[in-house]
Subunit: 154 residues, 2 copies
């Protein structure tokens, strides 16, 4: 299989933008989030805050680095979010005894309330998407995505 001499060799050209993995991932995420955003908005949180709350609800007390990693939020962003979220009573911040560098985070009462109110809405939206797209295809997709995530460079 050889490129004909009279046609330009595009093997080193960038892929068509609408058919590349980075763009497809971006568009797909945007499409999915368009279903959740109105609900989150109604509950007064943004995507990132919602991720932090869910991570803490899932795992109890964690240090900031762990939260950042699990919620896919960079440390400087999380630092800023900690202030606004503690001010709103969504999370609690404390120092780790034994390691004065670490900031420990846990969900606070208002965060629990939020989770109780928004959690079912979120689950319903997810279930709806799953039903429309096919539960098995969602499963396949998540598996492929998780495999892909393992290719992360350092």
């Amino acid at each position: 299989m050889k490129t004909p001499a009279n046609l330009p060799d595009d093997s080193l050209a960038p892929r068509a933008t609408q058919r590349s993995l980075p763009m497809s991932l971006l568009r797909a995420r945007e499409a999915i989030m368009s279903h959740f955003r109105p609900m989150l908005d109604a509950h007064g949180v943004n995507e990132q805050q919602w991720r932090v709350i869910r991570v803490l609800a899932e795992s109890g007390q964690l240090d900031a680095s762990e939260v950042a990693e699990r919620a896919n939020i960079l440390a400087p962003s999380l630092t800023r979010m900690i202030r606004t979220m503690t001010d709103r009573g969504l999370i609690l911040k404390s120092r780790d005894e034994g390691d004065g560098r670490r900031v420990m985070l846990q969900i606070a009462p208002a965060g629990m309330d939020l989770l109780r109110r928004a959690g079912p809405d979120s689950a319903r939206i997810y279930a709806g998407l799953e039903a429309r797209f096919g539960k098995d295809r969602v499963e396949d997709l998540v598996n492929l995505l998780d495999e892909l995530s393992k290719l992360k460079a350092e």
Copy 2:
């Protein structure tokens, strides 16, 4: 299939964060971009600028709305980017004759240079990922993602 009375019903609980479509999409995109970021950085552009350049290279002159849509960039962000990118000679901005509202954009010489220099690097990185993950699995994945994108709300 009924939830036992002595166990909490979690059918309306949020999905485990590490196994949800939004988070998996986010992590996968981050993993993929970690391979491209150093290259883009070496060429002095960020992800968004690179997307704009590629969209314009692919489709010639487009109005700002089209660019925003195809590159998945919000209009206010694009407005800001237009200034920095025209200042750097990467793109050209002009008014549409016939519709004074529209801003027409096209790639400029420095943008072409950038594309010629970074394009092959980008294609090589993509080919490497494709080889590691499996060309057929990438194809399957992109197909699933594009299907998913069709579920976009409103």
